[in-house]
């Protein structure tokens, strides 16, 4: 979550005529977000603690370049009240909400209490950070399994574990707490009742520093793998006008309670019976913000900057004219054909789809290194159209045009998804994708005869390992190493049929 969002924010700055400053760790010296910036300052070595999580070094960088605004992006310090406070102490304008709002919503247990007070329905769960599994056992007994253990400081599926029975509770607690510690520097977790087959529906809210607050429609984010969103769309196929009205006013009420004055997202769980529960509020720009931008015709990244500069919202609820539909696919450097194992490396080829309805928000270019040190998101493919069917038609075309070599990605997952009848019918929920992936092999299709001809022709004429293909061999060797880890080497003929 360094490159892609930095590039997005820099584009918003350029559009507004604002100069840009990139910060980078040694792993990112030649990354796209650095080479497109007007200024760039080194923070430190690759480990986040010494670079992207180091508040003093970031403030130093701003001071050195005379920056006036600091945009936290998402991930890292995006939801750190301390960072927001440190910025204002250093007389820098933090592009985000007030520290108090971040604090109130940041501690998930506090925010749940706040929402109950504000009359926004919440999922049954514990209200204080748990120090050991025992504290959760009691709640689990009365609420009943399955329960979900979540990081108090969390987000993005990190430090989250489903627990189905008493036996697994302590191991689940340990694993979740460990991940939370690793990801957020805070190992405290809490528990929630796990609703079965809910949808994840969230509302985009925008507030300014003059008391205006507007809800900019909802997003459907039920397509998740291990609690990590992978496909998002706007609007939600499950939300009609009446439900939308109730969702949006609940979201505005949530924003009001903390005097929210930036772009933020209120997440809800939507039960099959149409009832919904407050999940959490993300006090930052969301990865999936582009689907809202394309359908509602707003520029959330630019709006967020204008708000930080003290401007009033550029629109009221009545000005907004939503039109059509949009779907986003998150491209991760994870090998969808082999259990989504991380796939760091060098992007040897990158060919992005273009044409009507297509928007590419990526943080890489051909030659970019994808380091092991950070989140594996490469970027997003966002497609818009007149209605969901047109979007799916354009999306499958765009996915067929999308070429990334050198690192394995989640493209094979999306290519299979867009052809799936249940996906096309929008008949899914937050656990749907994990079940769907379950049995499936997302491996490459076996060559048809004319495809074998082309391959044989290339090899025959260019020779065994043509210079031009050499750039790919790195990835190929990595791939075969992976294969060996997954199966004994004495089945060579199965090597390329996972």
């Amino acid at each position: 979550n360094r490159g892609e969002i930095a590039v997005r924010v820099f584009r918003a700055c350029r559009d507004l005529g604002i100069e840009t400053v990139a910060v980078y760790s040694d792993a990112d010296r030649t990354a796209l977000h650095v080479t497109m910036a007007d200024y760039a300052v080194r923070l430190g070595p690759a480990p986040s603690a010494e670079s992207y999580l180091s508040i003093p070094r970031i403030l130093e960088a701003a001071k050195k370049t005379g920056a006036a605004l600091v945009h936290p992006g998402y991930g890292f310090l995006a939801e750190s009240a301390d960072f927001a406070r440190a910025c204002s102490d250093a007389e820098l304008t933090f592009v985000g909400p007030s520290p108090s709002a971040i604090e109130a919503m940041g501690a998930k247990t506090t925010s749940r209490a706040l929402m109950q007070w504000a009359g926004v329905p919440v999922v049954p769960g514990t209200t204080t950070p748990a120090r050991d599994a025992g504290e959760l056992a009691e709640f689990a007994r009365e609420a009943g399994y399955p329960i979900l253990i979540k990081a108090t400081a969390g987000g993005g599926g990190k430090g989250m574990r489903r627990v189905d029975s008493q036996e697994d509770l302590s191991s689940g607690f340990a694993r979740a707490s460990a991940e939370a510690q690793a990801s957020f520097g805070d190992g405290s977790v809490y528990a929630e009742k796990l609703l079965l087959q809910p949808r994840h529906v969230e509302v985009q809210v925008v507030g300014d520093r003059h008391g205006h607050r507007v809800a900019v429609g909802e997003r459907e984010c039920s397509i998740q793998r291990r609690h990590q969103k992978v496909v998002e769309e706007c609007p939600s196929p499950a939300v009609g006008p009446e439900l939308r009205r109730r969702l949006l006013s609940a979201a505005v009420a949530a924003a009001e309670t903390v005097g929210y004055d930036s772009c933020g997202t209120v997440e809800f769980l939507l039960a099959p019976d149409g009832s919904f529960y407050f999940l959490e509020m993300n006090t930052r720009l969301q990865v999936e913000h582009p689907v809202t931008e394309m359908v509602w015709g707003v520029d959330l990244a630019a709006e967020m900057i204008r708000i930080a500069l003290g401007e009033s919202l550029s629109f009221t609820a009545d000005d907004l004219a939503p039109r059509g539909h949009a779907i986003e696919c998150r491209l991760y450097a994870e090998d969808a054909t082999r259990g989504f194992t991380p796939s760091p490396g060098v992007v040897s080829r990158l060919r992005m789809p273009e044409g009507p309805g297509v928007r590419n928000d990526v943080g890489i270019e051909a030659g970019s290194a994808v380091p092991i040190d950070y989140d594996p998101m490469l970027g997003k493919l966002v497609v818009a159209g007149a209605d969901r069917d047109e979007v799916i038609g354009r999306l499958s075309r765009a996915l067929d045009e999308y070429e990334i070599a050198g690192v394995e990605t989640t493209l094979p997952l999306f290519r299979a998804l867009v052809r799936d009848p249940e996906f096309r019918a929008a008949a899914f929920h937050t656990q749907w994708l994990d079940e769907w992936i379950g049995g499936r092999s997302l491996g490459p299709p076996e060559a048809a005869v004319e495809e074998a001809f082309l391959a044989a022709g290339c090899i025959s004429i260019d020779g065994g390992t043509p210079a031009r293909a050499r750039q790919d061999r790195g990835s190929r060797w990595r791939a075969s190493a992976r294969v060996e880890a997954l199966r004994p080497p004495h089945h060579p003929s199965r090597g390329f049929r996972p």
Partner: protein, 176 residues
């Protein structure tokens, strides 16, 4: 340039011989299982090749072989699964197949070993978790692909491992 090459094309259906012949590297004759066609094979500036078959069917892609004779092939923007073995390597592979042996579980990516769940002498079932490897902030469970006897454990908790490093050795046991 004069090109003539024979391949063993391995697919789920079994094996087939596939030959490629060309005098000029542009007009190419392809043969497999009786089919014989002459196609136009053009090189693109970025090294891909476009083939146009007699039917007019057009495909663009690229392919290269590793030393083991297997192909890494792309058609359009996606990888496809095609095994074009050199007839000699093909035989070698066959005999290896017959031999069987021990499986080395290797690191798929650089990372840090969080937890080791097995010890030498353990019998593991297919799918059993052997160890937990952390990379890119996610904890990944490395599982056994087939049942066997843990012969050696070559890593320990907290250890950083590189791609391809051997983590655990499993001997396949004679089926009872």
């Amino acid at each position: 340039m004069n090109v003539r090459r024979r391949f063993v094309w391995r697919r789920s259906g079994g094996r087939a011989e596939l030959t490629v012949e060309s005098r000029d590297g542009r007009s190419v004759t392809f043969k497999t299982e009786g089919d014989e066609i002459v196609a136009d094979l053009a090189e693109l500036p970025d090294g891909r090749r476009s083939v146009i078959l007699p039917s007019g069917r057009q495909l663009t892609g690229r392919a290269a072989t590793g030393p083991d004779g297997r192909a890494e092939a792309w058609i359009g923007a996606r990888r496809i699964d095609v095994e074009l073995a050199d007839p000699l390597l093909d035989l070698a592979a066959e005999s290896a197949h017959a031999a069987g042996g021990a499986a080395e579980i290797r690191a798929q990516i650089p990372g840090r070993v969080v937890e080791v769940r097995v010890a030498p002498g353990d019998h593991v079932a297919a799918g059993a978790t052997l160890l937990v490897l952390e990379a890119m902030k996610m904890q990944n469970e490395i599982r056994a692909d087939s049942a066997g006897l843990v012969a050696r454990v070559d890593c320990s908790p907290g250890q950083a491992v590189e791609t391809g490093a051997v983590l655990v050795r499993i001997e396949s046991e004679p089926v009872a």
